[in-house]
């Protein structure tokens, strides 16, 4: 048995970590200002939720102990890898200095000279775009020819055409023989003040050049070559900006924080649903279909009874969603228990049926005829989960999730049914041999998993979207698998992994929005992170097995030594 003192040590670490996390989130959200915090409506509830996040961290550390450190290191490693990937996609950031719209101006007070083959004249302005993206043969440099007389004083300007163009220009003036007379790569502050077209020192200005002879002159304009250090510098700058949005974007404003929290609530519930089935060693992915039917059941109650008291409509709608999930979970359970139908296949099939059924009812029954988009009417205020933080979708679902976590934990660790689920999951034949009704256990584990998935449906319809939409979930069950696996199917760790995973999902959204990282890149980064995290969960699984085997050998040695000792006694 673990010594109690070590347990106390872990408890202390867990509490400190919880306090730090809660404090950090709250500090970032309100920039450390108490005034700003108290100005926020329902700030007490914001703090309450942040405390819950902290508690989830504490549970995570206390339940997994050293395993928690490993999960944390994996996340850090994943983030570093993600950073490298992001940087890779940002490598062309510096290319912005070589492309964009430019203008060229030739200024002179001398009388213009005309000649054949000229493309520019005194007082003239020409424009174009360098290295336009998506063009087969983009413009990389341009030449303009003008005629001048000996003694003409000319000023040549090359500059970015507008604010959006960041092109860094250089110009060169050559005479008819091709000899370079003068070059310019930058504009001085003085020149920027003097000529209104110049904006930055990246523009190029050749001021008051006196032409040496009569004849044709050529002006060559092209973007400056970007140096390696600039390339790297720009890449790091862009990546940092992206990662700032990724890692801290969710803590910027309360409405962003709410995006994170509401998604976390969803993921925690899905994770719990998946974990129950996984505990019984049932690889069920039925949560997807179950949550659709849960959303449909609760949504239909919400639409039909929208004028009743919330004290009636909300509980009834939740009950309906839970029942729908339970029944839809029971079906693959029965198929598995009595016909030994593979639960992975049957649940995926049932998902399709459930989702199509939902689409059908939504499109032909619930969609108002005049609506242009496939969705039901908005639920009335009586039929939505009341928000606990004003203007956000952070609702009373928080308390439902707390109750669900505690209930699942009690079920798994404290009830005979939970014991049956654990034993069937660990070794079904052993459970059967010991007298456990394995069929009943399998059916119930999948049906109870369905209850939680149904609850997710209610949360999505009445808490988040507040109406029924097509595609109310895209693969949430699969996200739930990651959340559950990462938590080793431990109901007390799932809140943390749910918050963590939702945080990464939200961060990815904000990275796309703030840092102009394209959505595909965001998905790749997310995939890299998930891959590493999932690999970690698998490694943990294999390590556990290896430790067991090692334990087997070492205890074998002990037993022999002890037997030797015992024989003489």
């Amino acid at each position: 048995m673990k010594s109690p003192s070590r347990s106390w040590g872990w408890l202390a670490i867990a509490i400190v970590a919880a306090a730090l996390v809660t404090g950090f989130i709250t500090y970032r959200m309100f920039n450390g200002s108490v005034d700003e915090m108290t100005a926020q409506a329902d700030y007490q509830n914001v703090i309450l939720v942040n405390v819950l996040v902290g508690i989830s961290v504490a549970l995570f550390i206390f339940q997994l102990k050293w395993g928690a450190l490993r999960v944390a290191l994996t996340v850090v490693a994943a983030l570093i890898l993600g950073y490298i990937v992001t940087a890779f996609f940002n490598l062309d950031t510096a290319a912005q200095f070589t492309r964009g719209k430019y203008e060229v101006a030739l200024i002179s007070e001398a009388a213009p000279t005309t000649a054949d083959g000229t493309t520019l004249s005194y007082g003239g302005v020409e424009k174009g775009e360098f290295n336009k993206q998506g063009v087969r043969s983009p413009v990389t440099d341009v030449q303009y020819t003008f005629a001048g007389k000996s003694g003409d004083v000319v000023t040549l300007l090359a500059y970015a055409a507008n604010n959006r163009s960041l092109v860094d220009l250089q110009l060169a003036l050559t005479d008819a023989s091709g000899a370079t007379l003068a070059t310019a790569t930058a504009a001085t502050a003085e020149q920027i003040g003097q000529f209104k077209d110049l904006r930055t020192e990246q523009d190029a200005a050749l001021q008051d050049f006196t032409l040496p002879a009569d004849g044709l002159y050529t002006l060559d304009v092209r973007p400056e070559v970007v140096s390696f250090s600039t390339t790297i510098g720009e890449t790091v700058k862009a990546t940092n900006a992206a990662y700032d949005a990724f890692l801290l974007g969710a803590l910027g404003r309360v409405n962003r924080w709410a995006v994170w929290i509401q998604d976390a609530l969803t993921l925690i519930l899905v994770g719990l649903a998946i974990a129950i089935a996984f505990r019984a060693n049932q690889f069920s992915l039925g949560a997807e279909g179950q949550l659709y039917l849960g959303a449909l059941a609760s949504g239909m109650i919400a639409l039909a009874w929208g004028n009743m008291s919330p004290w009636i409509v909300i509980p009834v709608a939740i009950l309906a969603s839970v029942t729908a999930g339970f029944l839809w979970g029971l079906i693959p359970g029965i198929l598995k228990a009595y016909l030994n139908a593979n639960e992975l296949v049957s649940t995926l099939m049932l998902n399709t049926i459930a989702i199509r059924f939902y689409d059908l009812v939504l499109t032909f029954q619930l969609k108002p005829p005049e609506a242009g988009y496939i969705s039901s009417e908005k639920f009335t205020n009586n039929a939505i989960f009341p928000s606990i933080v004003a203007e956000t979708q952070v609702t009373v679902a928080v308390f439902i999730v707390i109750a669900a976590v505690i209930a699942v934990w009690l079920l798994i660790t404290r009830t005979p049914l939970g014991y049956e689920i654990r034993m069937v999951g660990a070794n079904q034949r052993f459970a059967a041999y010991g007298g456990v009704n394995t069929r009943r256990t399998i059916m119930l584990s999948m049906a109870i998993s369905g209850i939680l998935a149904g609850l997710v449906g209610a949360h999505l319809s009445m808490g988040i979207y507040r109406q029924l939409l097509i595609n109310i979930s895209i693969g949430l069950a699969f996200e739930g698998v990651v959340v559950a696996l990462l938590a080793r199917n431990d109901p007390l760790v799932i809140p943390f992994t749910g918050f963590l995973y939702a945080y990464l999902r939200a961060g990815a959204q904000f990275m796309e929005r703030d840092a102009n990282v394209s959505f595909e890149v965001v998905r790749i980064i997310q995939a890299v992170i998930i891959l590493l995290i999932t690999a970690e969960a698998l490694i943990a699984y294999f390590q556990q097995r290896r430790v067991q085997r090692k334990g087997l050998q070492s205890t074998a040695e002990h037993s022999k030594q002890a037997a030797e000792g015992g024989a003489h006694g």
Binding site: F430, G435, R545, G551, E564
Partner: protein, 513 residues
């Protein structure tokens, strides 16, 4: 000059386990060299290195004083080393001749010359006195013949040194005698044999020299003529072993289990248990003898509720017990030590405490008003660990982390502590080391003396004969004999029944009374 010599062999597995620690031993040409040791002593690892299935971490192997590097079985075969594994590696749907020639088929052009393969097999079989039917399919021949096929296969590939890994584990006494005869004939013709076993009686009977291993180390090599079973046992276990069980005579009581005309057929419709009738009484151990696969497993699984019978009945204390699942059987105070403890007996990932309550978690004091009583479950774990001497860090340790013997003790603790009327023990000592075997045997006998009815199934004939008061022989799903155990009951007599060469009438068995 030794034929084969291993010098200072060390094998450390990647996970840090030291399976062989500085082992040196040599085999002379033409000898039968037995390697004995308990499970996990490192015998198999050592043999795998001689056959190229593993490579030593350090140390050298010499063949005829030449250092050799054996890294694949192919290499071993080329060097004239052959191995017959415990689990036969034969293609069931091929004939004997095809299996023997597999990979080295005689050819005429590109076509396999079947006739020659058959002729080769016949010649080989005659040369070494290993009778086989070259044209029979493997799936249709008995275990003993399959083993001979394996040996011939190795000889066909030119083996001079043959390693036999626990060859007698699957054989009847008669088949064992045949095998020993064949081994002697092989040696007479110049072959060398390495023989792995943990049955000391066989070592004494067949071998010339014995190398004893314990805890990855070599304890010593002795000449068989100069040693004895007790001495070998002491070397194996590292202490004095009492091979004799203290079994006081006891008057059996009234009938506890009564089975009548019980049959079982599997899903494919094959009858595996045919009209079995017998009784087990208080203070009695009824042993079931028989070659494995003659219906013992199925009989036990029907009696414990894991399978449903196709006909017949069984009663415990006069109450019907069949067809209602294992829980009903357990509630009638029937307990069961299962045949394969890793598949049926424990949940390896579950804690010891959880494994100890699989038959009673739903009852007081472990469950109260719908919730589990965790402190009671933990206390029960502590008590059992203490009472049965299970070596564990505590009740929370996963069972998978225990040694085989301690795992078996967890099962024994659970099954003995439920105050049973009838205990059904299947292979209770399989794969368990000698120390734990002693413990389990004594426990079984003590329980029987206290009045428990015990039905014992074991593939180890000596075990059944040592423990049982009466013996029941199964052959081909039928009960062919029920005999009183005593000095006049010999293995040979049992063997006749086990092989189906003799059978009693129902009157002789006394089941009609």
């Amino acid at each position: 000059m030794p034929l084969l010599e291993a010098r200072n062999i060390v094998k450390i597995y990647p996970n840090g386990t030291r399976a062989n620690n500085d082992i040196s031993f040599s085999v002379e040409k033409g000898e039968i060299h037995a390697i004995v040791g308990e499970n996990g002593a490192g015998k198999s690892t050592l043999m795998k290195m001689l056959y190229g299935l593993e490579t030593p971490t350090s140390g050298e192997i010499f063949l005829r004083d030449q250092p050799v590097h054996i890294d694949t079985p192919h290499k071993a075969i080329d060097l004239g080393i052959g191995m017959v594994h415990q689990n036969f590696m034969l293609v069931d749907s091929f004939t004997v001749a095809e299996n023997i020639a597999l990979g080295r088929e005689p050819r005429t052009g590109a076509v396999v010359d079947r006739a020659k393969a058959i002729q080769d097999t016949k010649n080989l079989a005659e040369t070494y006195g290993l009778y086989v039917d070259p044209t029979a399919k493997i799936e249709a021949i008995p275990v003993g013949m399959r083993q001979r096929v394996e040996i011939l296969k190795a000889l066909y590939r030119g083996a001079e040194i043959l390693i036999l890994d626990e060859p007698t584990a699957v054989l009847t006494p008669k088949e064992t005698n045949d095998l020993f005869a064949a081994i002697r004939s092989l040696v007479n013709q110049g072959k060398t044999l390495i023989f792995i076993t943990h049955k000391l009686r066989e070592v004494m009977e067949i071998s010339d020299r014995v190398t004893v291993m314990r805890d990855a180390q070599k304890v010593g090599t002795v000449n068989t003529r100069e040693t004895s079973i007790p001495e070998l046992a002491r070397m194996m276990v590292g202490r004095e072993v009492f091979m004799v069980v203290d079994k006081p005579p006891v008057q059996r009581g009234k009938s506890v289990l009564k089975v009548s005309n019980l049959s079982y057929a599997n899903e494919a419709g094959r009858t595996l248990v045919h009209r079995a009738s017998f009784s087990v009484y208080e203070s009695e151990i009824l042993g079931i003898a028989g070659v494995e696969g003659n219906g013992q497993t199925e009989l036990i699984e029907v009696l414990t509720g894991l399978r449903n019978p196709t006909e017949g009945e069984a009663y415990v204390d006069g109450q019907s017990m069949l067809g209602q699942g294992p829980r009903k059987v357990r509630e009638q105070r029937v307990t069961h030590i299962p045949e394969d403890r890793l598949t049926n007996g424990v949940a390896r990932d579950g804690s010891i405490a959880d494994n100890l309550i699989i038959d009673r978690y739903y009852r007081e004091p472990f469950a109260k008003s719908g919730l589990l009583n965790l402190s009671e479950i933990e206390q029960n774990g502590h008590d059992m660990i203490k009472q049965f001497g299970i070596l564990a860090t505590g009740p929370a340790q996963p069972v998978g982390g225990l040694s085989g013997g301690n795992m078996q003790k967890v099962i024994v603790a659970r099954e003995f502590s439920s105050s049973p009327r009838l205990l059904i023990a299947a292979q209770p000592t399989r794969g368990v080391d000698i120390g734990a075997i002693e413990f389990i045997h004594q426990q079984l006998v003590n329980k029987r003396t206290e009045g428990l009815a015990i039905l014992l199934v074991s593939a180890d004939l000596q075990e059944v004969m040592k423990l049982a008061d009466r013996l029941m022989v199964m052959y081909n799903g039928e009960i062919v004999a029920i005999l009183n155990n005593g000095p006049d009951l010999t293995e040979e007599k049992l063997g006749l029944y086990m092989l189906g060469a003799a059978r009693q009438t129902p009157e002789e068995m006394g089941v009609l009374a």
